[in-house]
Amino acid sequence: MSKTPKEKKDTFEYSLRRLEEIVESLEEGSVPLDDALKLYEEGISISKQCIEKLNSAELKLKRLSKDAKGNFELFTEGTNE
């Protein structure tokens, strides 16, 4: 069984979808101004986070194996730098 199912909101895919939604609702134009400003702020912050994530990371390589008791273990391998 998987240990901790990942909080879906943390994923890049979720962030991008949220960003798309925000842009679409602003595009529609019927959002009250206060809400529009909040959406704008959220959208700007998500785009920054996404860009940072794209730029910061370096490929992580791990190896999955099972120990004697059948538990899974992840070993970090050197990347192919």
């Binding site: 960003l19 602003l26 101004l33 400003l37 785009s47 730029n55 899974f72």
Partner: protein, 394 residues
């Protein structure tokens, strides 16, 4: 050796000695029938041709060395020694190696398995799982030493390095490769924390790729809850695993490209969104300004002070929130509102009344033309400091 009477055991031992000496290393060709894989791991079957048949066995240790799964109807070359099983008086060939008679035999096996699995629905499109667009963790089932792995890692780290790749090392050919691959797929599913997996290897001969044509791999791919991308050999190589996989990539490199998006394209999309946000917020503000303006125009004459108070409050709110995010737009809004206030003040009727003008109301409506009044009409005259009711006399 006159009429010397032998016991059954003695005869059998002599036969055994003759057969096992003379046929200690033979190669025979024949067709497999009554194939059975015993739970012990040993393989039992009959080899036959038009004229005769012989029992055959492959012991577990050697069975693991076979690159393919023997099956009924397959023509093979068996090399081994003849052994006699005394308790039953049987003889059989104890196979050291077993090979398909030709490549045609493998192709036949391929077609048979393909038909069988197709009829069970393993290749159906509706059973294919979608491949996630932005995976965070990618599982790879392949040889840790193969070029295929390096190719995939290079491409993934170039295209979209902010992912984690989890390798499950396996032998992709030879001894028990198919079982290892199947187990890796099962284990990735038990582990669960990956979004997609690639199973694959670089190019090779039909025999090299054979593990991916085995039923045990096909079943494991089909049973996987995690989407599987197959990446086996070159573009022209089609394996059973390719048919069952949720997505077939022509090569390992292509699989890497299919599984992760190009970071630059994604970044470009995000930047476009960023600009769209600015633009649409600008439109929203503009349209609110227009609304304010039109409201001012339509009601200003009747309730100017009230409106002024409202809009002044509104402009404070707008100003506050705008200031937090985009100060230049705030200035724009403020200036615009100021100028509206001026315009509003200039049409304030109270200013006009102070100068001696009188506003005439009839039934609550402002009268702006003499033709609206008849003799004896009751009207209200509004001065800057109060009202009087009068009757029109003429």
């Amino acid at each position: 050796m006159n009429n010397h009477i032998l016991s059954v055991g003695e005869l059998t031992r002599r036969i055994k000695s003759v057969l096992e000496t003379d046929f200690s290393n033979v190669s025979i060709s024949g067709e497999i029938s009554n194939f059975k894989r015993h739970s012990s791991g040993h393989l039992y079957f009959t080899l036959k041709d038009e004229d005769a048949q012989i029992s055959a066995v492959v012991w577990r240790g050697r069975a693991a060395n076979l690159f393919f799964s023997p099956q009924d109807g397959m023509k093979v070359i068996a090399r081994g020694s003849i052994t006699v099983y005394e308790p039953r008086g049987n003889y059989q060939i104890d196979c050291i190696s077993l090979q398909p008679l030709g490549i045609g035999e493998l192709q036949l096996a391929f077609e048979k398995l393909k038909q069988k699995l197709a009829s069970e629905g393993l290749f159906e499109h509706e059973n294919k799982k979608p491949i996630p667009q932005y995976p965070e963790r990618i599982g790879i089932v392949t040889s840790p030493t193969g070029a295929a792995l390096q190719d995939m890692l290079n491409i993934i780290s170039r295209r979209f390095p902010s992912v984690e790749v989890i390798l499950y090392p396996v032998n992709v050919q030879g001894t028990g490769a198919a079982e290892e691959i199947a187990e890796a797929i099962h284990n990735f599913n038990k582990f669960g924390e990956i979004d997609v997996m690639i199973i694959g290897r670089g190019g090779g001969s039909l025999e090299d790729l054979w593990a991916f044509n085995e039923e045990v791999v096909a079943r494991a791919v089909f049973a996987s809850k995690i989407p599987v991308v197959s990446a086996i050999g070159h573009e022209i190589d089609f394996t059973i695993a390719d048919f069952v996989a949720d997505l077939r990539a022509p090569t390992p490199s292509a699989a890497a490209e299919l599984v992760v998006p190009n970071k630059n394209e994604v970044a470009e999309n995000i930047i476009n969104y960023y600009y769209s946000l600015e633009q649409y917020l600008g439109y929203t503000i503009q349209s609110h300004l227009e609304t304010i303006e039109s409201l001012l125009k339509s009601y200003a004459f009747n309730r100017p002070l009230d409106l002024l108070r409202q809009y002044s409050q509104r402009s404070d709110e707008l100003g506050n929130s705008l200031e937090r995010t985009i100060s230049h737009r705030f200035t724009f809004v403020q200036q615009h509102l100021d100028s509206l206030h001026h315009r509003l003040a200039s049409v304030d009727p109270h200013q006009v009344l102070k100068r001696g003008y009188v506003m005439v109301h009839k039934n609550g409506k402002v009268i702006s033309t003499v033709s609206a009044l008849l003799t004896n009409d009751e009207v209200e005259m509004q001065f800057h400091d109060g009202k009087r009711n009068v009757t029109v006399s003429q």
